[in-house]
Each structure stands twice: as structure tokens, then as C-alpha cells.
Symmetry: C2
């Protein structure tokens, strides 16, 4: 399977595209910019969803569902929001088709034109805050802690599977609070939830920070984000959490009576992660042999492959294999026993390797004799022969070990690819190699724009709890009080 | 809470609308025909989803995701399908907005007109079979057993929450098979999955049957369905499973090489249930005091309400309540302990009654003294005082008992409201009272249409394994070999 597969050093972008296709994660659909998420890719997304959903509920949030359509006029109600989102949108203008009179097929019925066009949601702040107006009267109705799992559409001309598609899947949390402090605490809490998910489940280290004004979400007072570093030295924004102030409450006139009976505008947050995380996962761990998955997100954690000649051997091996399978399953490990007789073991090995199954167990007649199994781990490609006795505990530890190893490798990679730049020469030099660059910036949007223009690098974030340090802006030499993180980004 | 609440006998339809609103299940949105599913309603839908998803996976299906958009021309590829679905659709014609020159807001950019209009999926057979063409080459690729959880849009002018909305949530299974027999077996298997879910989880008895040609899904050779009877005597189609033959394979040219290497068209099924099930659930069990939920679908199965004066009493009660709560949770029962000091016990009782929480436990100072609790069940409104000892087992049994009781009540109701009609006079007489009517029909679409025209009753289904019996059509007197089920329907 790994033949005809471009290596990362040859062409990283080509490697990514081939991997997504050959590992059966996703493919382009016939509709420009829209992807089909294939069953194996969707199974990974489902594991992400399940854990995120658990974390949202553990922090007091409930799920709900709001309309796909947003009346066009709603987008204009919040001044910054309209600038950011009323651009590349899918616009519904009609609600009926009819048969063409010449029998050539169906055509749009011109009589069925909507009075007001509907936009397919690019994000749901407007429709949700319009709804919240009816739900919030008093401080007793607050906080309102709601999340939605949904599809959204942002028309994109240049798309890449998972990373940038016209339609994508995501969750969007939208909360309402009685005080500014509580809303900011929520924004920060959800950033922590995302960071913990990225690090503990995706085994992907992230930097927590805030965006500069230039890079803020349209309508937010502050955008918090987590930023990860991909293998090719480019940054990827993996999640954002926005403190929206009272902007949407004012735009949709959402007030509450406080304890003193006085009317106040409600404070808002929103936060989201999307199927883009699939791209981040791939570009953090995978290698020239295909996908590498952290055990906590692997749909199949362990595959057992029998090596046999004839049905008698298979029956004997299957007996032991099924026993091991059920021992592993008792520990909550997901196992596939692949006894297909249509494919040879070598083919199966290559297939599961390419699909990133963390642990492969092979069992042949000699293993049955000796009471052993051959265990191969996907991350390091190491193989060892283990006694079947107590195998479930051994595999359980191995999976934990793989999870930790992937995280540590990613941490090491990021450390090796994070540089301090104290002059423009250094900045450009490091940038040409890729990675995060920690550098002083004079704090002006003009300088930020200029650097982007010159190098395509953007400020990924101002890290939270950033160490204050006197310095000079790498571009202008003007004084600066802290370093920020620059990188080229997805 | 139940004051200002219309009773079922006063106005069933009004009762339904008020219930959906007051129990916080859903509400109309600002977008015509689209609903907002509120957190409590969505939590019930999530329980439905979880169990259905488990059943789909247990029968070998995997989830995937296909585009929201369908190119207009795709709808025309299958002749019957276009007749059925290329009608009331949401049509995307443009992909960009821009600022109006007069500063009045945003307008659709006329330069951003799509070459081919995109339809928001009303169902996904066309886009999915267009995709399957790339996935199926050989018999080894079959069967392909895929399900999608998604939103769909069918433009509706007269909408009712959950029962008929322009946008709704559903799952749609789409499977591909190498033989006709296997596809039919799949269609029947999924009907059984739906029926079991309806009966065991929703506590809603259903009749399994097939639709007449008139009522078939557009593009299907056979539509199987489950039909339930609502409290007002109207039928509700709760799920459908379609045998699609080779129609979509031919429309999208999807062939496979069989074991002999010969090219054949693939056989197809599709099957779905939607948020409409929420309406069915409500209209099967609920009463004049609000929602009634079967324990297996109740987001909160047990609520514990403390009855106290002062913080000292509360502290003592809370200690016991939390102990009971954790005992119940150990058994997998979902429990809410409502110790809010902002509301009186009576208010809480009314609220949980209205929201259909199956079991309410109340605990006062005397209960602490006596080691008792007061247990009230929502279905029969019975109350009893129980010893706290072994309370988790008692509640567990009670929940099972409530689940069974609701099912039995619904079975009894259906039996009392199913009538045989052997003449037109009898038919009209029974129909005026509502319910299922079992009657002979001459098998022609003309008679079926005529009966619908005269009475608004439709043939809900020809029951599976129907007893054959000589008879005469209730309308025409022509010979008939079996009875079919008529009813007015949602
Ligand atoms: Zn950042
Ligand atoms: Zn039926």
C-alpha cells in the first residue's frame, strides 16, 4: 500500500492529499469545495466528538439545535460580524423547482423567489442571539450554556480536505452571562477544555494565547486560541474561544433584569472546533508509511492477524485470538480480528499500518505452541514477542505508552522548531526553515501587516501568561514589552 | 405550570403545540418553517440517536458524511425520484454577498451566480450513489453498509414542530448489495430495527407493513414502514425502509464485477427516521398534565426534591439525597437532585411533572427520621412511601415497570381503536371516531385515491405476514384477498 505514496520530504502537500485518500479518510465530492467524509475518517471524528461532548457536558453545557438558514438582514446587525462573514456565503434565493417546459429536466421556478434571501450559516451567532432574546429575561435565566453540533458553509475557492472546505462539520458553543468576568472566565475555561483535548487525546501540544486585533473573530472583543505546529513547520489554529462582550446582545437587544431589577445587556462567548482537527491530527503524527493515530482516537486500537495454512491451523489460532480479543475488550480496548481469507497477512499488515492502527498482534502456529504472540507498535515500528499470559494488561500499558510517546515526540519536534529571533535577518532566516518564531513586535497592526506582506508570516498569538521582557520590534526596532509567536500558517 | 394548558379533549392540536413549547422541547424560529430544538428536547433526541446508532453499528453499519448540496441535475437522473423530490426545495443560486452601494446593508452579488444551482438535500440518494460509483468495483466491495446523521430540507408552507418542518434532523441509511435477495433482507432487517426501537425504547407499538404503490418513496420498488396510532386516532408513519432495486445504480451507472467477472448493476436500499419521532413520542404517552416520557428515553429518569425549612434541615436531607443519588447512578440511572433555593417544592413538582420525569423522590425531615422517601411515578400519578433501604433496586424495578406500563397502555389504546369495517357505512362510521380501520380494498390505485378524496383516509400499510382472507372492497365491492390498514394520518 505504501508504494505509490509520496514521502513527506518529497512533497508535504502531496503526501497529505494522498494520505487522506489512501487511508480512506475523506475525498472531494462532485460539489465544488464539499468533501465526503468516509467511514474510517468519520469514525475518528466520532471519537473526537464523543470526548469533546463529554467535556462540554462535564462543564455544564447542554446541546441544542438552531436553523441552518440565517436571514440575510441578520448578518448586518452586528457591524464587525457582517464585515467578517457576509462575503463568501451560500445564498438561498428560491424555494421551488419545476419541470422545464421543453422536457430537458428541472429548472428553478422563478415564481418561487424568497422575499428575503437566506444564508447558509457560516457561524450561528446571529440566529442564536435572535433566539436568546426570547429565552433571557432575568438573571435567573443566566448563565445559558449551550453547544450545537452542526454543519456550516463558507464558500471557498481553493479547498483542501479537512483543512479548508466549503462545508465542514463543527461544534459551536454560545453562552450568555450576567457579568463580564463570568463571560471571560467561560471563554478561558473552554480554551482550557480545547487545550486539554488537543494534548491528552490528540497527543498534540498547543500554545494557548490570544489573537491580535487583526486576527480576531469578527464581532469579538478578544479571541483566544490554541496553536499547534505541523511537521512541515507551519502553524495550525486548532480551536478558538471568543469573548464577545455585549456586541451581540446589543445587536439583538438581549437584556436581563439583574438582582436589583435593573435592565442590563447580556455578556456573550462563542467557541468552536471543527473537522479541521482531522487535518491537524494527520499532520502532527503521520509518517511516510501512512497514518499514525494516538490510541485514544483510534477507531481500531488493536488488530489481530492470524498467520496460517489451512483451516485447521486457522481454527486453532482463532480460538486463541478470540480469547485475547475478549480479554482486551473487557478492558475497554477496541479490537478487530481480521480472519479474512481473501487477503494475505502481508497485505493486512500494510493496510493496518497505513491506517494507523496503534498495535498489531500477529499469531502463527508456533505462537500457539509457545503461548506467545508477536506485537508490533505503529509509532516506532518495534516488534516483540510476548507471552499470552496477562496479555491484556501488557497491551493496555503499551497503548498508554504509545499515547505518551506520540505526545512527547510532538513536544520535542515543537521545541526543536521554535526559535527566538532578535533581528530581521534572524527572523527571515528562521522563517525560511519553518517553525514558531518568538519575536518582539511593536504592537501595531501596521507592523503586523507589513511583516505578513513581506514574509507571509502572521502573529499566531500572544501567549497567555507571557513573560514580560523589554525588547525591540524585529521589523521596526520600536520598543516592545513581550515576545509574540509568528509563523506561516494553514 | 399545568394551568393555562389546554387539555387534549378541548383541542388536541393546541394541546400538542402548547406542550412542545411549555415543556421546552422546541420552538419556531425566525426563519419560516425552521425550528429551534431546545436543550431538553434535544437531550431526548440524543437518547434516541444513541440507541439507534448502537443498533445500526450492531448490524454492521458505519457512519459517514456526504455533502449538504446536491447539483440540480442530479435530481433528474432517476425519473421517479425527480417527481417526488424536485419540488419544494431550498435552492442556492449565488455564493457571495457584498455591501450595498447605498450603505443599506448587504446584497447578493449578481456576479457570483452559480453555473449550476445547488439544492439543499431533501434526501441524499443521488449524491450518495454518485459517490458510490467510485467506491464499488467488485463483489468484494459489497455489501456497503453506510448511515448518515444529517439535516435535510423540504420546503413546507404549513409546518408543525417536529411533525412537519422545512429543516429537520434525521438519519439516512444507504446500502449497496450484490443481490436482490440481500438488499430485500437488509430492507426488512432495518424495518425490524426501527420496530424494535419504537416498541422497546419509545414504548410505542407499531404495525409493520408495506406501502401501496401510491405511497411509495420516489424511486423505490417497495417501501416498508412502521405505523403508529396517536391518541387522537390519527396514524403516524414513524420510519420507512426502502428497497430501491437497481434504479439508482442505473441512474448513476454503478456496476460491480461479480465472482464470474461479469458486470452487474448494484442493488440498493435506503431507510430513515427523523425528529418526527419526537412528535410520535409526545402523542403516544403525554397527558393533560404535560409530557410523559418512557424511562429509556428520559434525560432525567429520577428527580429528588428536598422538602425543608432552613439550612440545617437541608444539609441533613442533602446528605441522604446525595447518597441515594449515587446509589442510583451506580445502577446507570440518571438522577437530578434539585436543591435550588429559589423555587418551592410545589413549583418543582409541577415542573418535573410537566417535563415528564418518570420518577420523583421527595424527602422531608420526617423521612429522615423514619428512613423513608416518598416516591411518585409520572405515568399513573401514584405515590408511595418506601424505606430507603435497598432503594436503588426498588427504583430500578419501578422504572422497568413504568416502561412496560406505558407500552401496555399504548397497546391497549391501539386495540380499542382498531376496527374492522366490512361496508362503506361501517368504514365512514369508524373513521369519524378515528383509529386504524382494517378493511378490504380492491388493490387499485383508483379506489385508494377515491377513498382518500372522499374521507382523507389513506392506506397506511399492507401489514407484513397479513392473513389472507376473501372479501369485498369497502368502496367498490370488488373482490379482495386481504385487509389493509386505513387511517387519517399526520
Ligand atoms: Zn494563538
Ligand atoms: Zn405502514
Amino acid at each position: 500500500m505504501a508504494k505509490d505514496f509520496t514521502s513527506r520530504s518529497e512533497d508535504y502537500s502531496q503526501w497529505y492529499n494522498e494520505l487522506v485518500n489512501k487511508a480512506d479518510l475523506a475525498e472531494h465530492s462532485a460539489v465544488r469545495g464539499c468533501m465526503v467524509i468516509k467511514p474510517y475518517g468519520y469514525a475518528i471524528w466520532e471519537k473526537m466528538q464523543a470526548e469533546l461532548d463529554r467535556k462540554f457536558k462535564a462543564t455544564g453545557h447542554q446541546n441544542a439545535y438552531f436553523p441552518l438558514f440565517i436571514p440575510k438582514s441578520y448578518l448586518s446587525k452586528e457591524a464587525d460580524h457582517v464585515e467578517g462573514f457576509a462575503k463568501e456565503c451560500a445564498v438561498v434565493t428560491h424555494y421551488r423547482l419545476k419541470n422545464a417546459e421543453d422536457g430537458s429536466g428541472v429548472i428553478v421556478d422563478p415564481d418561487a423567489k424568497l422575499e428575503e434571501e437566506l444564508i447558509i450559516r457560516p457561524t450561528s451567532e446571529t440566529i442564536i442571539w435572535n433566539t436568546y432574546k426570547g429565552w433571557i429575561q432575568s438573571y435567573r435565566d443566566l448563565p445559558l450554556l449551550i453547544n450545537q453540533w452542526a454543519n456550516v458553509v463558507r464558500w471557498e475557492m481553493r479547498t483542501r480536505l479537512f483543512l479548508r472546505t466549503a462545508e465542514f462539520l463543527w461544534q459551536e458553543g454560545h453562552t450568555a452571562h450576567s457579568t463580564k468576568e463570568e463571560a471571560i472566565a467561560e471563554t478561558e475555561q473552554m480554551l482550557d477544555v480545547y487545550a486539554e483535548f488537543a494534548e491528552k487525546f490528540m497527543a498534540m501540544p498547543v500554545i494557548k494565547g490570544v489573537k491580535t486585533a487583526n486576527e480576531r473573530f469578527a464581532g469579538a472583543l478578544e479571541t483566544y486560541c490554541i496553536e499547534a505546529l505541523m511537521q512541515d513547520g507551519k502553524a495550525l489554529q486548532a480551536g478558538t474561544s471568543h469573548f464577545l462582550g455585549q456586541n451581540f446582545a446589543k445587536a439583538f437587544d438581549v437584556k436581563f433584569a439583574n438582582k436589583e431589577g435593573k435592565q442590563e445587556y447580556v455578556w456573550a462567548t462563542s467557541w468552536g472546533v471543527s473537522t479541521r482537527l482531522m487535518g491537524a491530527l494527520i499532520m502532527t503524527h503521520s509518517d511516510d508509511e501512512g497514518l499514525v493515530l494516538p490510541p485514544k482516537l483510534a477507531p481500531i486500537q488493536v488488530v489481530i492477524v492470524p498467520i496460517y495454512k489451512g483451516e485447521e491451523q486457522l481454527a486453532l489460532i482463532s480460538e486463541h485470538a478470540n480469547k485475547i480479543k475478549s480479554e482486551l475488550e473487557t478492558k475497554g480496548i477496541s479490537v478487530k480480528y481480521d480472519d479474512r481469507d481473501t487477503h494475505k497477512p502481508g497485505f493486512k499488515f500494510a493496510e493496518y499500518e497505513f491506517k494507523g492502527v496503534p498495535v498489531r498482534i500477529a499469531m502463527g502456529p508456533r505462537d500457539i505452541e509457545n503461548g506467545t504472540v508477536e506485537v508490533a507498535r505503529r509509532d516506532t515500528k518495534e516488534k516483540e514477542t510476548l507471552q499470552q499470559k496477562d496479555i491484556a494488561n501488557k497491551i493496555d500499558h503499551l497503548l498508554t505508552n504509545i499515547q505518551e510517546n506520540l505526545y512527547q515526540k510532538a513536544i520535542d519536534f515543537r521545541e526543536e522548531n521554535t526559535f527566538k529571533a532578535d533581528s530581521w535577518v534572524e527572523f527571515e532566516e528562521h522563517l525560511s526553515k519553518g517553525g514558531f518564531i518568538s519575536a518582539h513586535w511593536d504592537g501595531t497592526p501596521e507592523t503586523e501587516d507589513k511583516i505578513k506582506e513581506l514574509t507571509k508570516a502572521t502573529i499566531r498569538c500572544i501567549p497567555l501568561n507571557n513573560k514580560l521582557e523589554e525588547g525591540k520590534c524585529v521589523l521596526t526596532g520600536s520598543p516592545s514589552k513581550q515576545r509574540v509567536i509568528f509563523a506561516k500558517a494553514y
